[in-house]
Symmetry: C2
Subunit: 489 residues, 2 copies
């Protein structure tokens, strides 16, 4: 266990903060509630962006960029939306500062006629533009995504998971029919699920949110929910069927094929830098971060071992040749050839930042014509013949990716339990045992009561799984299927 | 010439706006001074980002993300910096809005103790963080870049060139010695020059800015200056040697190898979405945009020609096979196989958005076993045998890239002239003939006078070219070399 990192079983929450800071993934900034994403953390976000952007483009989407500043009046146009975001938004009221000669201080100048809001999400500004861009069914569908920074003034912040500013992508699509829009919302939900499971090695439950957990302005909100190592849920992505709510708020109509004017149908969907936090909390351990191979900028961390200069040149020759072979196979390698630190120090540093594999090569390995490979996630050592090493490492990386998924999937499955009464539920949740599968037919008020009494919230109505009917654990009313309740981030 | 586009020789400025809007590169937004970058324009920016990011990483830089919101007091810490940016910055003063029951309107709430500025550039927040990250020479150099949005309240805006919000990258590096920092500033200047010339096909003059044109807080500002088709200059990128100014303002010291405390040396450097405007104004014509092949997402635009269904299937089979071959060669192809618009309509649309090459394939071409290739920039038609087409197209794209550069380079050279007296200068500038190479030894006040009298500004002290001495055209003082003056964007 790395020094300066609190063990998970001692204090999971402290462990998380320690890992993020010790591995230099992020840092608190002097601006209350805002974080700095440091190069090690940003590299993970870049890999996430890269993979997702490819998936968005493969499903026909293009990127664009809309203004950060949104007129206050835009927010007011959609009734639910304004309730959801007004209280916690950052407001620009002036267009400059002026240095006064008398007190040598800066004073506000240029008061704006209308305050501008830093986007808490971009539906309003985007639909104000769509009004100009959409006239006919020929202009539809409009499949646009934006990578951007977002502002929501949060009271209790946590690095990556909840900060006043964060980075995300937001898709905003416009369609001619309700069905097409709902299919799009569902398509993107599946893109998120595939990404979470195949790239992040993070199993998720996908489904629909309850009315109480719906995005302000949406008709239906779909989501993927993951389970962290402390058995709490983390909402990892959402996709919304917005109906015609924003089209009506911004008067966006189109002429359909029958020459009639109709309001446009909409979706929006997003994931954020929160995923970096989810990735850490899903896989990492008391020694630091564990990054799944598919999201590692440098899946392999190479440490040459030597004492004398003659050894150095022999070892480095073989090491460089192996690194060359790995690069040919498309595997990024981070070589640590510093002379002023010990191999042990390098090992600890490599474990801290989470390269999936470490390769070591020393004089004794050269004699045996082998390289030592250590898997970060389970410390397993493999000795590979040098001439086949590159090809084998590709296979090992693939198996590590699968291992990580299986490990997380097992946790999710063994920590998800069918619960049949509210008393049993309260006990289960208090013991932090995981996801509760319960029959539920309560309303938003009932959900609030459960949250107050247990701290657990309605997470998702799963789209897959059994559909057996039952009685709501709280109200006793008929329920069509079980849903997931859990404490959550 | 495309309808709805004002010809360049009639009104260059109108032509630019028309091209940007007709080709759907960008649009004005309802927020004063802010633009929307539409998918066609954003695709160019993505290609620019992709190429530059690769070059930054190849020179040892990593990406990170710092808060958008900067405490007002940070801006005050560097005297020149605050003078340069305070007047035009967007100021956040409140952390929320509240719906009042009485008037059903949103009202400001949560007044901040200290106003926060939307970053006009990030030196201050970044150096506040560097103070925590740098203790010893072992922590140096720190080579960090950020891709971000920037806010400067501009009075007179122009799409891509000058807007209240724009996108950019900003490198911020920290070094142990003055020499190393200056070398870094120079290295990045050369990265920008290489990028402008090799990718944008836009020749530039690289050199140093005069004191009057220096970045607020810099010791030296280097820049690349390009010439647009109307012979005006456009500053396309800057790289600053910041000395120890920001280290002193934020008290960032390090222990050197001799165990002494020293202030850290700094650079910063940036290019922005302004480059999209520069690209348009360098190459495009009265029919629309011309994108150089290396920055085109779809270098090839494919239009199948047919009337009858039998023709369609024959033509599409060959077309798809050719597209497959091109993709194998790494060439992106945009296929327009819509049945409800004419080929002529497609041609005009393809020309408007600027694909470097168009390929047409119809029944007559099939008979001759050929494909028709049309170069966007000079309308030249080439008939290629189908079996060799893919390989030849790769070569043609390469030659188009070179052609565009040569064409722009010729313009730059023929429109740059040595001018030897202020009278001659006034005449030359008034006639909009291009760059004036003049001897100059004036100060910032003198520069201001020239600007007031002629609208021309000091652009750059070239690093390359002859070093012959002379007399300043305005003051008659000794001058070590000629510098560039021009009207500019």
């Amino acid at each position: 266990m790395a020094k300066n990192i609190t063990p998970r079983d001692k204090d999971y929450s402290e462990w998380y903060v320690d890992v993020v800071r010790e591995a230099k993934l992020a840092d608190y900034s002097p601006v209350k509630g805002c974080m700095v994403i440091r190069p090690n953390g940003y590299a993970i976000w870049e890999e996430i962006q890269h993979a997702l952007d490819r998936m968005f483009k493969d499903t026909g989407h293009v990127n664009a960029y809309f203004p950060t500043l949104i007129p206050q009046s835009f927010l007011e146009k959609e009734a639910e939306h304004v309730k959801g975001f007004a209280l916690e938004c950052a407001v620009v009221t002036h267009s400059g500062l002026e240095l006064h000669e008398d007190d040598h201080k800066l004073h506000l100048k240029g008061k704006l006629e209308e305050p501008l809001i830093l986007r808490p999400t971009s539906e309003t500004i985007i639909w104000a533009m769509y009004k100009n861009w959409i006239q006919s069914y020929r202009d539809l569908p409009l499949l646009i995504n934006q990578w951007a920074n977002i502002f929501r003034w949060e009271m209790r912040t946590r690095l990556f998971l909840r900060t006043a500013e964060f980075l995300w992508q937001e898709g905003h699509t416009a369609h001619a029919t309700s069905q097409e829009a709902d299919e799009e919302a569902m398509r993107m939900l599946h893109v998120y699920k595939t990404f979470a499971e195949d790239f992040m090695a993070m199993p998720v439950i996908h489904g629909e949110k309850s009315e109480g957990q719906r995005f302000p302005g949406a008709v239906r909100t779909y989501c993927i929910e993951a389970m962290m190592q402390d058995k709490k849920a983390l909402q990892a992505g959402t996709s919304h069927f917005l109906g015609q709510n924003f089209a009506k708020a911004f008067d966006v109509t189109f002429q359909n094929e029958q020459n009639q004017l109709e309001y446009v149908w909409a979706t929006s969907w997003g994931v954020s830098t929160r995923l970096v936090g989810a990735l850490i909390m899903t896989h990492s351990d008391d020694d630091g971060v564990i990054v799944p191979p598919k999201l590692a900028t440098w899946p392999v961390f190479a440490v040459p071992i030597y004492r004398k200069p003659e050894e150095r040149s022999l070892v480095m020759a073989k090491m460089n040749s192996l690194i060359g072979d790995l690069k040919t196979q498309g595997i990024g390698v981070k070589l640590d050839d510093r002379d002023n630190v010990t191999p042990g120090f390098k090992f600890a540093e490599g474990e801290l930042v989470g390269h999936p594999l470490r390769i070591e090569l020393g004089p004794k390995d050269l004699e045996k014509n082998q390289v030592v490979v250590t898997k970060r996630h389970n410390r397993e050592k493999v000795f590979l013949p040098l001439d086949r090493a590159a090809a084998e490492i590709v296979t090992i990386l693939d198996s590590v990716q699968k291992d990580l998924f299986t490990r997380a999937k097992t946790r999710l499955e063994t920590s998800t339990k069918e619960i049949n009464s509210y008393d049993e539920f309260k006990e289960y949740i208090a013991a932090d045992e995981g996801f509760a599968l319960v029959h539920w037919a309560g309303n938003t008020e009932d959900e609030r009561r459960v949250q107050e009494e247990t701290k657990a919230t309605h997470r998702v109505i799963p789209l897959e799984g059994t559909r057996e009917k039952g009685k709501c654990m709280l109200t006793g009313k008929e329920s069509a299927q079980r849903v997931v309740f859990s404490k959550a981030y």
